[in-house]
Symmetry: C2
Subunit: 203 residues, 2 copies
DNA sequence: GTAATTATGTACCGATAGGTATAGATTGTC
DNA sequence: GACAATCTATACCTATCGGTACATAATTAC
């Protein structure tokens, strides 16, 4: 146990509040005042616990992935379903999160990706976001490669292109949700998007 | 001819410079200093010619649509191609714009849509962006309805869902471009995305 | 030429940005 | 209880935010 006065707030809860604010307003749309108000702490505590705005944002990105980004992939491994069904369940799980009534609309990573390429994001945050997207594609590529090995995908189809297609879909769904689309609409889009696998999925 | 001293800069050229800045950095990531520097004019001239930051942004949105948003749809009406080919050409035209080396990556409307739902955009700008997206879906719906009437689409397919699917695709492509995808990757995604029409396109 | 009109440049405004200094409060260690 | 360590509250910092006042410059109408 470290000595000294102990923190009067729950760090995880505060991080979650910060996440909501960044998720709603983006990095450059969020001020320290927005953060301290939402987190219920003052500036000193924020800086002591999290560093500064940039460091807090980077921790929020991690926290977001853990809380809302990592659970969907389990649908890809439920072997009682066909690959096409699993892909549909995976995307549907994401769509539910994107339109969750208790959360901001859309996806923090996607919105942050839209903030890339300008000068509004700190260098390190930009790198983290780029890496997250790269990892998503890499993960999907590995997954699809294995599916191909197990002959759930035809041997001639380009795995990497399919992974890119899936990420693009996720981005599109996220912005659509941001634009006000409801879950049912996103699910209809997913139905349509999955049809393109009719000829490449063999099981 | 109106009396008084005449403007020393080209309003259209200044608007284009402003467009680039907003396109790169988003609304809340752009400061008046960024704008005046890029436009090569000072604050007084900006306010005299365009109103204020919000009014300038709204004019930029219009200008952007005119310059980079309205030309793609012509591909939908080149009757020598099949509907599937025309859809592909339409999306490919957008993809070329999204990755144009002389322009910021991605799409101003899509990036602005990502800024929606927070408190970072002025009310009127939010309404304009929502309306632009609505008009895109409406346009696509009307187009597809006509294609269905001419029996290029099966009678049972849901036009509105396809229009939504196409808008979602555009969003996804825009964010992917923002994320660093090259034209070839976007074109591959489009190829994949268009395959889902194999069973609904009858001509 | 004079007046009216419009554009520009400079200086300025209050508010807020992100961040820090410092003093006081609260804790564990010894 | 003395001390060190940690957290918190208030005040403060400089820079920048979007926006304006006002004097001056340039142009047309008469």
């Amino acid at each position: 146990m470290s000595s000294g006065r102990q923190r009067s707030f729950c760090k995880k809860a505060a991080l979650e509040k910060a996440m909501i604010v960044f998720w709603c307003n983006g990095y450059s749309g969020t001020s320290l005042a927005d953060l301290t108000e939402a987190m219920g702490i003052n500036k000193s505590s924020l800086y002591a616990a999290f560093g500064n705005k940039e460091a807090l944002f980077n921790q929020v990105l991690d926290f977001y992935l853990e809380l809302h980004g990592s659970s969907h992939s389990r649908h890809l491994f439920e072997q009682q379903h066909t690959l096409q069904e699993r892909l549909k369940n995976y995307l549907s799980s994401i769509a539910r999160m994107l339109t969750d009534a208790n959360l901001p609309k859309g996806c923090l990573i996607c919105s942050s990706t839209s903030e890339l390429a300008g000068s509004c994001l700190p260098e390190k945050s930009s790198q983290i976001i780029a890496m997250i997207n790269r990892k998503t594609v890499d993960f999907l590529t590995e997954f699809l490669k294995n599916e191909q090995k197990e002959q759930h995908l035809t041997a001639d189809c380009d795995i990497n292109k399919i992974a890119n297609y899936l990420l693009t879909l996720q981005f599109g769904l996220a912005v659509s949700a941001r634009n006000g689309s409801e879950l049912a609409e996103l699910l209809a889009v997913i139905d349509r998007a999955i049809e393109c696998f009719n000829n490449t999925v063999s099981l």
